[in-house]
């Protein structure tokens, strides 16, 4: 390098990347010469070194970490939530896929019903065969049944579709109409298993009191509870774990506190008779949302 080139290099301060690389690999003599003569660059380099030191200081591993990891490995099972993160992410999408499929099927059913409607079939039985446009007026009991259902109740597909006129009249022969229309339990109601990961959103009157109540109920019933902070002051997240039976019990109690469950996933309040309990461990994510005044 000529003295002219050296002087040119010294004439300007290196940019952030050049300085950062110099901190990691201090081999550039021209840069070293500049830094040794430049207070500004010295200060900047010192700042970078301080940032590195602070980051190292912040991330000091806790005592006994290696031993805990060895024990977890020896146990041969992943006990961390990080494993379940991927499961949760997968499960997160699954309901969306089901919802999309359901919407598609409902649309298809509506279209086919519309195509197959003929004057003869409409006239055959005034109580069963109705044009879609007249279905609600002609079946007030059925409509009331659907409207009164809480979100997430196990409503049979035919039960939801019938008052909307989405099913071919002939297919109604396979659906019990009398008892269902009166709002009683369908004869072929399925029992459900509670999934390993549940996410529920609850609407509550008082967020602070509700947190306290949830904590009390968890302690009383032996459920593990972790709170998570939230950026939104009107929202609180809690992670609980317990058996399916414990969580059904908890959900019943929460509803009894006046909380409103907005999520459709089981366990639903007062639906114990429909559940198939296995005493398996469930991870329950509860989001508490403050009602607007």
């Amino acid at each position: 390098m000529t003295s002219d080139q050296s002087n040119l290099s010294l004439a300007r301060c290196p940019d952030a990347e050049e300085l950062s690389v110099f901190l990691d690999e201090p081999g550039d003599s021209t840069l070293a010469a500049h830094i040794s003569a430049c207070a500004h660059c010295q200060a900047r380099l010192s700042d970078y070194a301080q940032v590195d030191a602070l980051l190292q200081e912040l991330s000091q591993p806790p005592a006994g970490l290696a031993l805990r990891i060895q024990q977890a490995c020896a146990a041969g099972a992943s006990t961390t939530d990080a494993t379940s993160v991927q499961t949760i992410q997968f499960n997160w999408l699954t309901p969306l896929r089901y919802a999309a499929a359901l919407i598609f099927l409902l649309t298809l059913a509506s279209f086919l019903t519309w195509l197959n409607h003929t004057p003869n079939s409409q006239g055959s039985d005034s109580s069963l065969a109705r044009a879609p446009g007249t279905s609600q007026a002609a079946a007030p009991a059925s409509v009331a049944t659907v409207q009164n259902n809480q979100v997430g109740e196990d409503i049979a597909l035919a039960e939801q579709m019938r008052p909307q006129g989405n099913i071919d009249p002939d297919s109604l022969q396979n659906v019990s109409t009398g008892k269902n229309a009166a709002g009683t339990k369908p004869a072929n109601q399925r029992r459900y298993r509670i999934k390993p990961q549940i996410e529920h959103i609850w609407l509550v009157e008082d967020l602070t009191k509700s947190q306290t109540r949830l904590q009390e109920l968890s302690l009383r019933d032996g459920l593990k509870l972790k709170w998570q902070t939230s950026d939104n002051i009107a929202v609180v997240h809690a992670d609980l774990s317990g058996t399916d039976r414990q969580l059904q019990n908890l959900v019943d109690h929460l509803q009894a506190q006046g909380w409103l469950l907005l999520s459709p996933a089981y366990p639903q309040p007062k639906a114990e008779q429909n559940a198939f309990f296995t005493d398996s461990k469930i991870i329950y994510h509860a989001t508490l949302v403050q009602k607007e005044p």
């Binding site: 952030a16 990347e17 300085l19 950062s20 690389v21 990691d24 690999e25 900047r44 700042d47 970078y48 301080q50 940032v51 590195d52 602070l54 980051l55 190292q56 200081e57 912040l58 991330s59 000091q60 591993p61 806790p62 970490l65 290696a66 805990r68 990891i69 060895q70 977890a72 490995c73 020896a74 041969g76 099972a77 992943s78 006990t79 961390t80 939530d81 990080a82 494993t83 993160v85 991927q86 949760i88 992410q89 997160w92 904590q215 968890s218 509870l225 972790k226 709170w227 998570q228 902070t229 939230s230 950026d231 939104n232 929202v235 997240h237 992670d239 994510h285």
Partner: protein
């Protein structure tokens, strides 16, 4: 030095895989668990999450080690696993709108409102006001780190905590060396600007 470390890892892996020597695996855990935690902490900014990720990574390694082909160094393979798990956890935390967990078993706040249950032991050589300033600086660093784009944060933490070379970081993150240099420089500069030092 580097070759010695590589050969030592290979020997340990061989003992664990072919002789089912649990002690050999435990040595690997002793050697790398701290670094795994530090990298996870750098990405996540939360002690509890970082430990979960480090633990999960080693459980996975424990199971997958017999299939480890040795195309890359063990450490590079391990850092990749850590980074991927920490990324997943970080994204999941972001989706959930929560970044920090704490247990009701120990509901003592540290007064900083960050939900972490840490107790900073004062350095005997520092005056109280210096300790306070230092803790403030650490807190600011943590916040500045959290503000960094994920790609910057990963590169910075691999460099500053582990001291990996640019080439090694490029291999772990799957990008070019020039990109690594640029990300580390920008990351440092952004943290520095946020700290006002």
């Amino acid at each position: 030095m580097s070759n010695d470390i590589v050969s030592e890892d290979r020997v340990l892996i061989d003992r664990y895989v072919n002789q089912n020597d649990q002690d050999a695996f435990n040595i690997l855990v002793q050697k790398y668990s701290g670094r795994a935690y530090q990298i996870a902490y750098g990405v996540l900014g939360n002690r509890e999450d970082a430990e979960e990720v480090a633990q999960d990574a080693f459980v996975r390694i424990y199971r997958a080690l017999p299939k480890f082909r040795g195309d890359s160094e063990f450490s590079t393979w391990m850092y990749r696993i850590i980074i991927n798990l920490a990324r997943n956890k970080h994204r999941w935390n972001r989706v959930r709108g929560a970044g920090k967990n704490f247990s009701i078993d120990a509901p003592i706040d540290n007064g900083r409102g960050d939900g972490e249950l840490t107790i900073d032991l004062p350095d005997q050589g520092m005056a109280p006001d210096q300790i306070s300033l230092y803790n403030e600086l650490k807190e600011k660093t943590k916040q500045a780190m959290a503000k960094l784009p994920e790609s910057y944060r990963e590169a910075v933490i691999l460099r500053t905590v582990k001291g990996l070379s640019y080439e090694e970081i490029a291999e772990v993150l799957g990008c070019k060396v020039g990109t690594v240099k640029s990300r580390i420089a920008r990351g440092r500069e952004e943290i520095r600007n946020n700290l006002d030092i």
